[in-house]
Every structure is written in C-alpha cells, then in structure tokens.
Amino acid sequence: MIKTDMLIIGAGPTGLFAVFEAGLLKLKCHLIDALPQPGGQCSEIYPKKPIYDIPAFPEILAGDLVDNLMEQIRPFEPGFTLGERAETIEKLEDGSFIVTTSEGTKHQAPVVVIAGGLGSFEPRKPPIPNIAKFENRNGVAYMIREPEDYRGKRVVIAGGGDSALDWAIYLSEVASEVSLVHRRNEFRGALDSVEKVSELAKIGKINLITEAEVVGLKGAETLESVVIRHKGEASEEEIRETDYFIPLFGLSPKLGPIANWGLEIEKNAIKVDNSYDYQTNIPGIYAIGDVNTYPGKLKLILCGFHEAAIMCQSAYQRIFPDKKYVMKYTTVSGVNGFDGSKKEAKREVVKSIN
C-alpha cells in the first residue's frame, strides 16, 4: 500500500503543478497516470508543439513545459505510479480513500485530486462488431507487451503509423508470417522504417496489403482468420488465416472508470465548486484542470495551475482541520524541499558605514 497526503490522478501539467503547491504546504504527493511517462497530453500528443499562453513564457514547447515542471517539483519528491490506470475508489471509515489501479496497486490518502485531463489514453479500437470477443488473449491485442508471445505465429497488423511499421519489422524476425494491412499506399512513419518495410516486403518477409482494411474477424473461440476488404470499384474481400490481429491506430483519451465513481458528471467532465475550492460532490475528492467543469470553465493550462493552488488550501484544511495556514510568498519564505534542499532569495547585505 502506497500512503501519501495527496493522491493525484493524472500527471499532466496541472497534476504536476499541484505537487508544487502542495509541497509549499508540506503535503506529500503521489501521482498515478495511465501513460508510461509524466506530462499527459503535452508529452504524449504534442511534445514538439509550441504553447503561447503560459504566463511569462512568450513561447514554450509542450515537452519543455513538462521538463520545467518536473524540475520545479523535484524538491518535493513526488511518487509516481505510471502505466497504470486508476480503476476503483473506496472510502474508509477514517475518511481516507483507497484508489486501486488496473495492475492492482493500492494507494491510500486523505485527499484525492483528479487532474485527469481528457481521461486516460487508450488504444483506438477499430469498429469491428465482434472484436471484443477476441480481446484478452483470444487473438486480438491493441499493444504488444511481450513480443515472444508471437514466436512462430501468424500475425496481421493494421495501421500506417510508426508503431505499425516498427512492429511489423520487429515481428518479421519472430513470427512465422507477418501481414501489414493499411488503408493507403503511403505510410506516414519515419523514412527509415518505411524503406525497411518495403525491403522486407520485396523479399517476402512481410505481406504488404495496402489500399485495404480489416473489416471482419472469424473464429469459434479464438481468432482463426480476418476478413480484408480491398478498395476498388467492386469491393473485393479476402479471408486471411491468422493467429493474431494487432490493430495499431494510435491512442485516444477516455474518461474511463472515473465516470463510475459517483461523481457528478456534466458534458463529459466532473462538476466542481468553482466558487470555493474545486471540490467535487464527494467531500475529499477534488477535480482540477481540463477534467472539471463549472460555469465559464476554460480548458487552459494556466487555469489548471490556478485551480491547483486554490485546491491545495482546501485540501490542507481537510487534512489538518486544527491548523491555521498563513500564505507566504516563495520570494519571502523560499522553497524548502523534502530532500533537504532550500531555495531562497539572496539577502541584501546591509553594511553601515562608520
């Protein structure tokens, strides 16, 4: 069991900055994120894109913003549970919460902060009617966790991006047969990968099937074959026997299990009290950043930062009801890290002239 003062779900910019604000109040934080790295959308979707509306940064790349935040919160030694999705929440008698992830990791904290952005990023599943039947080890996988599982097997990969190309190349050495199905003739991946795939196709190590789409799956219990539809005037269908079908169409965000936590949801976002502290309808659970909604809400990083600061004051009162906190400016009091580090403004040396 991981125990902390403030459990933050979502390690995007808002969740990361909440660690800083909590740290000033001497509250320890732990973050959970479904992605394998911190930064949320900024790292996953647009690390190389510039942002122009971060106060005092005329221009900053999303990836650099995340790096800066990680540097800023380092003294407060946040814990991370990455690559796991927060699944369930349970309230204990003492008022604290236990959040369990998809991998079964348990976290306990008196305060839970949802900074989940658009939700957790999950593989896009193609709209094939019976696809769910073959999920969970019955022949369909949306990501490759253990390449050795495919040794000596027949594999059909669908998609035209880097991950489809890279896995087709990798599995061509492992699987007995690799087919790569893509809607168009052009591939969008790195030039090296595209060239490598076309080389492997020429020598027969990859069956390259372009201008085609997997539209059906067949099999009694486990997957036996895929139905491939070729583009063209008379849409031709081809049945290809396979052991595995791996659709790689990128990631898309889903609110996910949080939607079933009993929180008030409106417009796919969590309703909070914006007149006070961004608390949800469940006392002790807060929601900040893009995941929340209230009249006049703006989904901006800078608004998430503001909400994080306000939320921490209320969270502090919840954890220490008897203490009175007096807000101090970092310029006055400095930043005292949990790691023993101390940052502070240089003091002016006043020397009297005798």
């Binding site: 959308q41 979707i45 647009y46 894109k49 658009l118 896009r124 599943k125 193609p126 709209p127 998609g159 035209g160 991006g161 809607r183 168009r184 969008r188 169409f249 990128g250 898309s252 965000p253 609110l255 417009k267 796919n268 976002a269 989904k299």
Partner: protein, 125 residues
C-alpha cells in the same frame, strides 16, 4: 428546417454565412457561421452544440484526434488542401470516406456560403 436558435439571433450580420450541418442522428440544422471571428467548422459545430461535448474537438483543433471528422457533401473544390497532419490523422481514423475532412481544419470563409456537411460517427471504443 432551421432550429430555434436561429430565430433568436437578433441581427443578421453581413459577415455570417449559412451552413447546413447534419448531426450524428441524421437531423439537419441550418446555422449561421461568422466569417470574421477566425472560426473553423469544428468550432461552429461546438458553438451550436450539434454534437455532445467530449465527443467532438477533443484535441482542441490541432488535427490530433479525429473526433471532428465530417463528410463534406458539397463545395469540395473550395476547401483548403489537406495538411500532412490531417492526412495523418484521417489515416488512423475510422468510418473514413473519400469526402472525409477534419472540420477543425476548415476555416469559415465567405466562399463556403451554402456548405453542407455531415458529422461522422463517433467511435466510442
């Protein structure tokens, strides 16, 4: 059949154009779209709430999700060329047809007066 919202707009602005948007349930809406507010088609759809929040324009208009995919029913010769990013995204999207575009990449322009579009299905999975 124009929706009620249109009747409530007090003044007809010269800079507005009329666009027909068919929602995911198949209902057609004739809406005003301003040409002087730097808006794109996805934003027009959201402003008029023609698709539930959270199912359209998820990435905010960066051509980085495909939730605003629309089928362009006319005026295709007047639309801007697809960028690399848009092609890229449509490649990964589902329900893609010849006339699919990401509506966030279509700026509202005077020439698009009378445009007709249909919002593509939302892939909830």
């Amino acid at each position: 059949m124009p929706n009620r919202r249109d009747c409530e707009v007090p003044f007809f602005k010269m800079s507005d154009i009329k666009i027909t948007i068919i929602d995911r349930e198949g209902e057609a809406h004739l809406v005003d779209a301003p040409t002087d507010m730097n808006m794109n088609l996805m934003e027009v759809i959201r402003t008029h709430e023609l698709a539930p929040e959270g199912t359209i324009g998820i990435c905010g208009g960066m051509a980085m999700c495909a939730s605003c995919q629309c089928y362009m029913l006319n005026k295709d010769h007047l639309l801007p060329e697809k960028s690399y990013e848009e092609e890229d995204m449509l490649d990964q999207a589902f329900f893609v047809q010849e006339n699919s575009r990401l509506s966030c990449q279509i700026p509202i322009d005077k020439e698009l007066e009378g445009l007709e579009v249909k919002i593509a299905p939302y892939n909830a999975d």
